[in-house]
Symmetry: C2
Subunit: 122 residues, 2 copies
DNA sequence: GAAAGTACTTTCCAAAAGGAAACTACCCTA
DNA sequence: TAGGGTAGTTTCCTTTTGGAAAGTACTTTC
């Protein structure tokens, strides 16, 4: 009995799956989308600003996630030579290409909430 | 010295952030997007089919993730009364509303790969 | 009646993720 | 010179995640 050739294991599909894995590995963790979302809304924020803006995050996580995002060129880090030195974090032009994705994420989440409340068991 | 009112903590923004958290918590884990992506491509697959299709997943994870997705009405599970009983997993109509999101995810990942190869350091 | 296929579940373990609190280091103001 | 603000880092700990392997249960085929 031959094993049925289930679906599409064509290159396009494998590339697609790989692409999804790539995106998710770059944006993994509990806080990446929050940080990016915050920086997309209010460009140029300091470390303490982000710590205050993003509800629940601690300095360790914020620091680590910002480093990840910077490494992937999604956010920029600029040390200003103000007197108590400050650092400006901002979304890069490249990071801004995530806007459509983040919008889809938000849109789906909003519709999800509505579907829970507005229906009798989906 | 008054604390600067950093950005938009208007209800819309909080709702948006909450929505992103909701979506991500439903789609958390290493395999959800793979499973959904696979079921969107080839509707109606058995447990063993999925196990073979999704490279690297084990039966424990597949089982657990399918239960999660079923609980959230994103996939359906139908026990067929064939002789060695088989189970058909399929994406629900509701689960299909994730297609645009998954497409964005894939699209961004593909462009990401291109940006790595095609540029001199972004 | 043994093997193999369906669909899982259970156990046991290792690694990764994440959080609280304390600590560094530097500067300014009072 | 003590307190408070900047921007983090370090330590220690718990929780979560995920994987390998074996087990369950039932059926059909050889």
């Amino acid at each position: 009995m031959k094993k049925k050739a289930v679906i599409n294991d064509s290159p396009v599909c494998q590339v697609r799956m790989q692409a999804i894995s790539d995106t998710m590995s770059i944006l993994s963790g509990k806080w990446k989308f929050h940080i990016l979302g915050t920086l997309i809304e209010g460009s140029k924020l300091g470390f303490m600003d982000l710590l205050r803006e993003i509800d629940g995050i601690g300095s360790k996580m914020l620091s680590k996630e910002l480093q990840d995002l910077e490494m992937n060129h999604l956010v920029s880090r600029t040390v200003m030579d103000t007197k108590p030195i400050t650092v400006e974090y901002a979304i890069t032009e490249y990071g801004a290409t995530l806007s459509p994705l983040i919008n889809e994420l938000a849109k789906w989440g909003i519709e999800y909430r509505q579907s829970i409340h507005g229906s009798k068991g989906v």
